[in-house]
Structure formats: structure tokens, C-alpha cells
């Protein structure tokens, strides 16, 4: 399988998503936890 190169990695994109969580408290642990739940939903 050929792995193409992208302008930004998906990890970089996820970091931008993390900056867009205004509905959550500005607590890093909470935001990291939400982001992980989102990532796991995309795995499954």
C-alpha cells in the first residue's frame, strides 16, 4: 500500500480540532479526553 504525503498530518489536524472545543472548559485534561473519545470513534 502506497502511503501518500499530505500537506498536514492528521495529527496536526487533530491539534487544530483541539483548539476548536469552546464548548468545553479550558482544562487540558478534559479537552484531551474528548479528543481521544473522538479519535476512538473514528477508529471503530
Amino acid at each position: 500500500m502506497i502511503v501518500p504525503k499530505y500537506e498536514k498530518s492528521i495529527t496536526d489536524l487533530m491539534q487544530e480540532v483541539k483548539e476548536d472545543l469552546d464548548f468545553l472548559p479550558e482544562v487540558d485534561e478534559v479537552r484531551v479526553s474528548f479528543l481521544f473519545a473522538f479519535e476512538y470513534m473514528l477508529i471503530s
Binding site: L13, M14, A37, F38, E39, M41, L42, I43, S44
Partner: protein, 385 residues
């Protein structure tokens, strides 16, 4: 206290007592249904996907006419729209709009186990996600904008889970038993990375890599189960749908599936959580392993196992949940009652038993409604301790 509040508390007590091998006041009757609730309410999935209230009403409606003490789920289990927005995923609506279907894909090559083992999340996010979701292969910033929309849909989905459970609690006094999802690492590899056929080949050709990969996925699974919490509540439960073991020999199970899964179960127990183990297929060849699970840590939700054998062989370790096949519920009412009576007579004494169908109700034809109503009423009244 409202009537529904008291009923809700009584039902939780009934369920948790049965879970702990105590005799409750009645045998709990558990609903295992998903999209059937939608067709039961005279709707199709498309009628409810953008209307939360309608979805909540659909999942509450059966409780108006059918006796239940609890339900596994209170809303649709997947947000198919989110996966479609991302241009991929494995879930879609059936052509008749009645069920959510799953299609298997292979997203990981056989020679990529080392990358999965080295860093499961980085490998998955940066290499698997773009293969799986075509929207992520679009140019920047179009791809990140779609990802942000998907994140908002995920937030909406999380809220629906909580609000739907609250809705059936307030309207029908029915508790929702499931609060989180766990999986066995081996099933994660099979379901989301390699597919069934390829994983079974890997089990023969690359067993050591599978073992390492399942071990690497344990912290990922625990993070998913913990949901950012330090400890877990003993109620509601973590639901583990378990797919592969029916197809594994005891030797394969012992070597490839059990060690990492047992670790997940032990860590869940140490954190205070309790589990529903959905033993999909037939697990009768694996009961020695099941008996290693901490006592009163889990319910075994049976599918094809002989319930009497299960009660005898693993019933002291786990509570047993099952009792009637969907096929039986399409037969005559008297046959259904006879089956239910035999199951209660043998499985209810001493507690550790809940009544449920062997499979989830998905489509309108899965059961004859009058039989389901009659059986659940019978189990509630005859199952009085």
C-alpha cells in the same frame, strides 16, 4: 418522588442484586434492541436521524406496552451521518431504511504490525485514518473543516446518549445498563484493521506480532473505557461485544486473545467498573477461561450457548443473561411460555440471572410482537422470588 423515579430505583436494585448473585424480588427482564425500536414506532431511520425528540420517543415507545426492567441501549448506536461526512467508515443504512449495516474493510497491511505495535494511536491517526476517510485526503484547510464538523456531530452523538437515557428514565422509569464500550484488543485488530479472513491468517502466520499488537492496544482500550475518569462506577456497566472467540480454538484463544483481554478486564475491575460480556456466537469451549474473571464482575450475555450448560459451568462466576431465541419468539405463544418457564425454573434460583433475547431486535420481523409481550409479562410474574 415521581412514580417513574421509584420504579427506576426498584429496577436498578433488581438488576444489581441479580448481578451479584442475590435473589431480587423478580427476575429482571432486559431489552436488547436497537433499530427495531424505530420500526416498532412506525418510522424509518431517516425519519429520526435529524430529530432527537423523535429518536427518544422511538426508544421509549416499547416500554408503554411491553414489560421490561432495563435496556442495554437508549438510542442508535452509531452516527452514520458522521462517517458519511468523512467519506468512509464501515457503517451504512440498509436499502429499506430499517437497519444500520456494517461492511468489512481491510485498512492495514500484514507487514504493518510493527508500526501498530510501536505507537498504535499515531499509526492509526496518521496512516489508517486517511485510508479510511476520503475527506481527510482533501486539501488543507478543507479537510480540517470537515473534521471539525465531524467533531461537532460526535459531540451531538454523545449528548444524545445521555439525553436519551434520561428520557426513558423520566418517562418510563427504565434504566439504561450500558454507559461505555470496551473491546478485546484482538477484536479491535480484526474489526478495524485487518478484517476477519486476514486476522485468522495472521493468527497462524504471525502469532507473535498479534500478541505484541494486542498488548500495545491495552492502554488504548483502557483510555477509552476510563473516558478521562480516575475510577469507574459499578453501575451502569461497560459493554464488551466480543466477536472472534467463537472462531478460535481454546489454544488460539489462550495464546492470542485472552492475555490482553484479561488484562483489560482486570484493570476495569480494579478501577471499580463492572461489565457486560456479550459472548457472541458460542463460547462453550472457553468456559475455563471465563471462570478466571473476578466473581460478580460481569454479566455474560449469551447468544448461542446452551443456557443451562452456561448456568452450570460459569454461572457461579458471572451472572447469566439470556433465555429465549428470536426464532422461538416467532413460534406459538404456548411454546414461548414453555421455554421461558423452563429457563426460569432452572436458572433463577439463587439469583445471578436476567432474562433477555439471544440477539438484538433489529427488524420488525425479528419477533412476533404478541409473543414478546406475553413472554415478558410471564417472566415478570412467574419470575417472582
Amino acid at each position: 418522588m415521581k412514580v417513574s423515579d421509584q420504579m427506576y430505583q426498584d429496577r436498578i436494585k433488581r438488576i444489581t442484586k441479580a448481578f451479584s448473585h442475590e435473589e431480587p424480588d423478580h427476575v429482571p427482564v432486559i431489552m436488547n434492541a436497537e433499530t427495531w425500536n424505530v420500526s416498532y414506532s412506525g418510522m424509518k431511520i431517516e425519519d429520526i436521524i435529524n430529530d432527537k425528540e423523535k429518536e427518544f420517543e422511538c426508544f421509549n415507545k416499547p416500554f408503554e406496552n411491553i414489560y421490561y426492567d432495563g435496556t442495554l441501549f437508549s438510542c442508535l448506536s452509531r452516527d452514520v451521518e458522521m462517517y458519511e461526512l468523512l467519506g468512509g467508515g464501515a457503517y451504512f443504512y440498509s436499502d429499506d431504511g430499517v437497519t444500520i449495516q456494517h461492511k468489512e474493510y481491510v485498512f492495514m497491511n500484514e507487514d504493518e504490525y510493527p508500526k501498530l505495535i510501536h505507537d498504535p494511536m499515531s499509526f492509526t491517526i496518521d496512516e489508517i485514518f486517511p485510508r479510511k476517510y476520503s475527506a481527510l485526503r482533501k486539501s488543507y484547510p478543507e479537510n480540517v473543516e470537515i473534521l471539525k464538523k465531524a467533531k461537532n456531530m460526535f459531540l451531538d452523538y454523545l449528548q444524545r446518549i445521555g439525553h436519551s437515557a434520561q428520557y426513558i428514565k423520566e418517562n418510563s422509569g427504565i434504566p439504561t445498563l450500558v454507559s461505555g464500550i470496551g473491546q478485546a484488543p484482538f477484536d479491535v485488530i480484526m474489526d478495524y484493521y485487518r478484517g476477519f479472513k486476514e486476522t485468522m491468517q495472521d493468527a497462524r502466520r504471525r502469532p507473535e506480532e498479534i500478541i505484541e499488537a494486542t498488548n500495545a492496544l491495552v492502554p488504548v482500550m483502557m483510555k477509552n473505557i476510563k473516558q478521562g475518569k480516575q475510577n469507574l462506577e459499578s453501575y451502569p456497566f461497560v459493554y464488551f461485544p466480543l466477536h472472534a472467540p467463537s472462531f478460535l480454538s481454546p489454544k488460539q484463544f489462550e495464546k492470542l486473545y485472552w492475555p490482553s483481554f484479561k488484562e483489560v478486564l482486570n484493570q476495569t475491575a480494579e478501577l471499580g467498573g463492572k461489565a457486560i460480556l456479550h459472548l457472541e456466537g458460542n463460547w462453550e469451549h472457553l468456559y475455563d477461561f471465563i471462570n478466571e474473571v473476578p466473581k460478580d464482575f460481569a454479566i455474560a450475555l449469551l447468544e448461542k450457548d446452551d443456557i443451562f450448560k452456561a448456568k452450570d459451568k460459569i454461572g457461579d462466576t458471572l451472572a447469566i443473561c439470556g433465555g429465549i431465541e428470536l426464532g422461538t419468539l416467532r413460534a406459538s405463544k404456548s411454546e414461548c411460555i414453555e421455554v421461558a418457564k423452563r429457563v426460569i425454573d432452572k436458572c433463577a434460583p439463587g439469583g445471578g440471572f436476567m432474562f433477555c433475547t439471544d440477539k438484538a431486535l433489529l427488524t420488525p420481523g425479528d419477533v412476533k410482537l404478541e409473543n414478546l409481550i406475553a413472554v415478558n409479562e410471564f417472566v415478570h410474574s412467574y419470575g417472582k422470588y
